[in-house]
């Protein structure tokens, strides 16, 4: 396997007195798609927030391409190439689709070959091109997700972290989103994907980590997971 792009070692975190994550360690090799599975409310989103700097871990280290990032603020971590496409999309609702995309290239480092990359994004997510002047808050759920994806991709990161990209979407839109993710994987992007539902990623992920009450309780690839019906049953509702 290739060199690890992201190394997470012994990360713990929590809000107030309640610890949400306890001693989480895993790696994301360059060019792979790693999935974090687990039931709702068991720390998946918190983990991503820790990695992108929105939340400071109380213990442990996070390394991106050999550089420690766990002590950096969120706005600096982006510059190191980590893209977080969060739950709820975190769009700028009062700004147009185009302005949202422009925010993706806020950092000077992200602005190189902007026109060209924007064209790529429009090709990948053609819906955005039709909606450039529309305000983000008027978009449908699926369009929002795509805008979040496009905006995140424009930041030019090396590691893409997606937090439940299928959440709250109609099945047909979920299919579209996962097609985009498959495209990105084919392009060789490194992806860390959080999901509640195993069925979408079981064939796609190079490695799957199961997060339960804040710790990783199982890991393996899709085939191994498929061979563990009791895990599928308990954690992922079949």
């Amino acid at each position: 396997m290739a060199e690890a792009l992201l190394k997470v070692a012994g990360v713990s975190a929590g809000y107030e007195q309640q610890m949400v994550l306890r001693d989480v360690s895993f790696e994301v090799p360059e060019g792979s798609l790693i999935a974090l599975l687990g039931p709702n409310g068991h720390g998946k989103s918190t983990l991503l927030r820790c990695l992108s700097g929105l939340l400071r871990p109380t213990k442990g280290t996070v390394e991106l391409a050999g550089k420690r990032i766990d002590n950096l603020p969120a706005d600096r971590i982006v510059g190191h190439g980590l893209v977080h496409i969060p739950q709820g999309d975190m769009l700028f609702p009062g700004m147009s689709v185009y302005d949202n995309l422009l925010m993706g290239v806020y950092l000077p480092s992200a602005r190189v070959r902007f026109e060209e990359r924007l064209k790529d994004i429009y090709q990948l997510l053609p819906r955005l091109k039709e909606r450039t002047t529309q305000l983000a808050r008027t978009l449908s759920g699926g369009e929002r997700r795509m805008l979040a994806l496009g905006r995140g991709l424009l930041t030019g990161g090396r590691l893409l972290m997606l937090d439940e990209p299928s959440l709250g979407l109609a099945p047909i839109v979920i299919d579209q989103i996962y097609e985009v993710i498959a495209d990105l994987k084919r392009q060789g992007r490194t992806i860390l994907l959080v999901e509640e539902n195993a069925s979408r990623i079981i064939d796609m992920a190079d490695r799957i980590h199961l997060l339960d009450t804040g710790t990783i309780v199982w890991q393996g690839d899709g085939r191994e997971l498929a061979a563990q019906p009791q895990i599928l049953e308990t954690y992922l509702g079949g």
Partner: protein
């Protein structure tokens, strides 16, 4: 008919002045939930800055305007590092910051009183004379200058917020703080910029107000409250709404003082605004521009 013209002329003049201060106040609230009680003292400081520039330093009169704008921006920076910087994300931040900035405002106001004394000064940066009559109502050059300055600054602010990278970052932070961080926006730096911008506008607003009244240390108190009422009416954090609401409040106040008596202007506004807020608790224009999720 003349009454109507009179109301529109003085209403627009009042509205223009309120708009400059209210928009800044609203911008600051929208960005980091700070009701800046020092805003009024920054208005007063702006007026004194022109006085310092012209009387103490001896700058030509026209230089005093940019001088005061820069001064205002610097004061805004100081306010940030004295209060917001230490208090962001602490418990009861929203109320505590009001009290803290009230403290800063009192320091500034009484500092001015200490340095300049309580007697009124005339604003050196002003124009005299009547430009002409509309109907039988005289229109001063001063009013025209106030309209033009306010309009130019509002348009400039609009362009800044919608057309520039820094402006987009300001709006992004107001609309989704974490989302902006994930795009690499250094949020704290944006906060400082916002407070600089708001204070710069407040300084200009103070100068305009002092051309119609006089320069005294507590001159910001009344306009500050009007600006508060304006942003309540518009919906806190709604910048474009604050502009409209300012003009509306100016017109209502002008109507009340023209048709009734000057001292009833403020009470009438307050009653109208409270009624409007009972009708629409999120403000007349809601949170159009900086809706938070």
């Amino acid at each position: 008919m003349d009454y109507l013209i009179q109301i529109i002329v003085s209403g627009l003049t009042l509205g223009s002045m309120y708009a400059l201060s209210a928009v800044g106040l609203s911008l600051v609230w929208g960005s980091f939930n700070c009701l800046n009680m020092a805003h009024g003292s920054v208005m007063a400081l702006g007026a004194y800055f022109t006085l310092i520039a012209v009387d103490s330093i001896g700058f030509p009169v026209w230089v005093s305007l940019p001088f005061a704008m820069v001064g205002g921006a610097l004061v805004g920076t100081a306010v940030y590092y004295l209060s917001v910087h230490w208090m962001l994300n602490t418990r009861n931040y929203e109320t505590n910051i009001i009290i803290a900035t009230f403290g800063i405002g009192m320091v500034m106001e009484n500092g001015l009183l200490k340095i300049f004394g309580g007697y009124p000064y005339a604003q050196p940066l002003t124009v005299q004379g009547v430009a002409g009559l509309i109907g039988n109502v005289p229109v001063n050059y001063r009013s025209i200058v106030i309209w033009v300055v306010a309009a130019v600054l509002m348009v400039a602010l609009g362009l800044l917020l919608t057309r520039t990278r820094a402006g987009r970052a300001i709006r992004a932070v107001a609309q989704n703080r974490d989302g902006a961080k994930l795009m690499g926006v250094p949020v704290a730096r944006v906060y400082v910029q916002v407070l600089m911008l708001a204070s710069l506008l407040a300084a200009v607003s103070g100068i305009l107000i002092s051309t119609t009244l006089q320069i005294v240390p507590y001159m910001g108190a009344n306009p500050l409250l009007k600006a508060f009422i304006v942003i309540c009416l518009a919906g806190l954090g709604n910048i474009l709404g604050a502009l409209y609401a300012a003009l509306l409040v100016g017109l209502v106040e002008a109507s009340a003082s023209t048709l009734w008596a000057p001292q009833y202007g403020f009470p009438v506004i307050l009653v109208v605004v409270i009624l409007a807020l009972i009708w629409r608790p999120e403000g007349l224009f809601g949170r159009v521009m900086v809706a938070r999720q």
